[in-house]
Symmetry: C2
Subunit: 325 residues, 2 copies
């Protein structure tokens, strides 16, 4: 089958072996897949992954044990637990130590004609959602994970660092639940998408001005900068005994001073993948706008150009379409 | 007055100016003061403090506005807030941005004949407690701060990294509340103090053995190693979605990879000073043993030798006594 794969370098091929479906798994024909920053990190060596990346997808089930799924349009949760360990048995399959993760670890992903996922990972896509919109289920679920981890009050002073593709979703989630978040970012075009929705934004270079205008620091800071400096910036902005949610994953270590975290008794919470069901509900209800976050689309054959586009500053969600029906 | 002071180097003098009491403050004659690892860090440049260090003390009030305090034996909370800012007004004076901290920041400390603290910081010492025991109120309060921050269940799998002076208190606190903590340390003599109390201990060099024997990682890891490696060790031992409490403060930054924290969705909580009232109650009730943690005592004149003793491996709490009554 056709696929974009990474093996020390990204390449396109028409000859990749079709994935093999095991019992309980579904063979899915990919309709479209979005490029995430994690895919760009993988192409730099993150997770030492080799194979087909891509984990934000929508597709149609072609083969499956449970016949009700066949022909259905689906999205899929990307973590595949072993189903037997203490984590899986506690409903924490996203943290199974033996898990595979679609397009990230131990399982080929969505930048291909077909992929395989356990049936239990599948979620039906409502007809009201286009393929392009459905691609946002996975990253919106990651944004919703913050609500699974932290109790956020409408009056909390909330700062979001980062206006990338995930940041634009997190900002809307924080706004949706009644907060008045402030978003600091480096991309004026992206910030303007948020300010049009009534969300307060500020370019990163205005930091000094912010610092002077703030009598109290923030109760909650969400760090989604994708940069090594994000963590210390977040700890600098949060109030004593406040909370920092950390979304950025990077290949490699950085020079970090943890003493301010101890002195200010800050809570830092790592946050990764999230729940699909509420993400699908919110997309169907149009609670979160993703249409204005859709960038350029490319056919699978032009996947390398798609990656190049996705790594540009201010790139919105770049989508690889599988046109062969 | 006599004092041990730091001004780029530690020195003893008989000629330090007596501290001046402001309205609302108490002049305290120091009876005894303990040397904490933070004092050793200050003598390496931590906090850029200049003056008299020492914050674990017991003394007698000599002058005070509130006459009831005069002649009383007291210990004292070390953070002195401004009393006016948003933090102080919310009862968070320990986090007042304009605070002074006894012997750590902006206020001379306890390695001297006298010190000055706000009256509201004072706590009466029960007669049943010796001077040496009363010195442990402050570090025990710091250990109790963990209970102020985290809800710990008796069935939680709890690991404590560090068997220094604070570690020996934290271990007893965790044991006291119904947990069966495991303590990993580098000092066999210190670990034996805990194992005699029925607390599980393991020398740090047995890490490989631990790792192989553990099907599940720990729900809670308390990091009190005092070393730069402690944080990453703690993140390696905690289970996905588990909690790390960080006690170590260090002068300077370290090379740290935060990605495991995000991938495993770990919560990290910085923890500093704690509440005095429950610490005094527990010491009076003999709920926590501190007698076996008392090391050598030195007169104020021999304070430099006391610091040398305190920096030795396996040193217990070294105490500087003020013999001039």
């Amino acid at each position: 089958m056709k696929a974009i794969y990474y093996d020390g370098a990204l390449a396109f091929t028409k000859e990749y072996a079709m994935p093999k479906r095991k019992a309980g798994e579904a063979l899915v024909r990919v309709l479209a897949a979005g490029i995430c920053r994690t895919d760009l990190e993988i192409a730099k060596g993150y997770m030492d992954f080799r194979g087909i990346s891509g984990h934000e997808f929508v597709g149609v089930v072609e083969q499956c044990d449970e016949k009700k799924w066949v022909g259905r349009r689906v999205v899929g949760a990307i973590n595949c637990g072993c189903g037997k360990c203490a984590y899986c048995l506690r409903g924490m399959e996203r943290h199974c130590p033996d898990r595979s993760v679609l397009g990230i670890s131990g399982r080929d992903g969505a930048f291909a004609e077909n992929l395989v996922l356990p049936e239990q990972n599948l979620h039906r896509v409502p007809d009201a959602l286009s393929d392009e919109e459905a691609i946002f289920v996975e990253p919106l679920a990651a944004a919703l994970e913050i609500l699974e981890q932290v109790s956020i009050r409408p009056t909390d002073r909330v700062l979001l660092l980062g206006d990338g593709k995930l940041g634009l979703l997190i900002a809307q989630v924080l706004h949706r639940i009644g907060c008045d978040p402030e978003v600091v970012g480096k991309h004026r075009k992206n910030l303007s998408i948020l300010s049009k929705k009534g969300i307060r934004t500020r370019p990163a270079e205005d930091e000094t001005e912010m610092r002077e205008g703030q009598p109290l620091r923030y109760d909650l800071v969400v760090e989604a900068t994708g940069s090594p400096e994000g963590f210390e910036q977040a700890c600098g902005w949060v109030r004593p005994r406040g909370t920092v949610v950390l979304k950025t994953t990077l290949a490699g270590a950085s020079e970090i001073d943890l003493t301010p975290l101890v002195v200010d008794e800050i809570t830092v919470i790592g946050s990764r993948c999230g729940p699909f069901a509420p993400a699908i509900r919110w997309l169907e209800e149009r609670a979160i706008d993703v249409r204005s976050l859709i960038g350029r689309t490319f056919p699978l054959e032009e996947g390398l150009a798609a990656f190049e586009e996705a790594s540009k500053r201010e790139a919105l969600k770049v989508i690889i379409m599988n046109n062969e029906q």
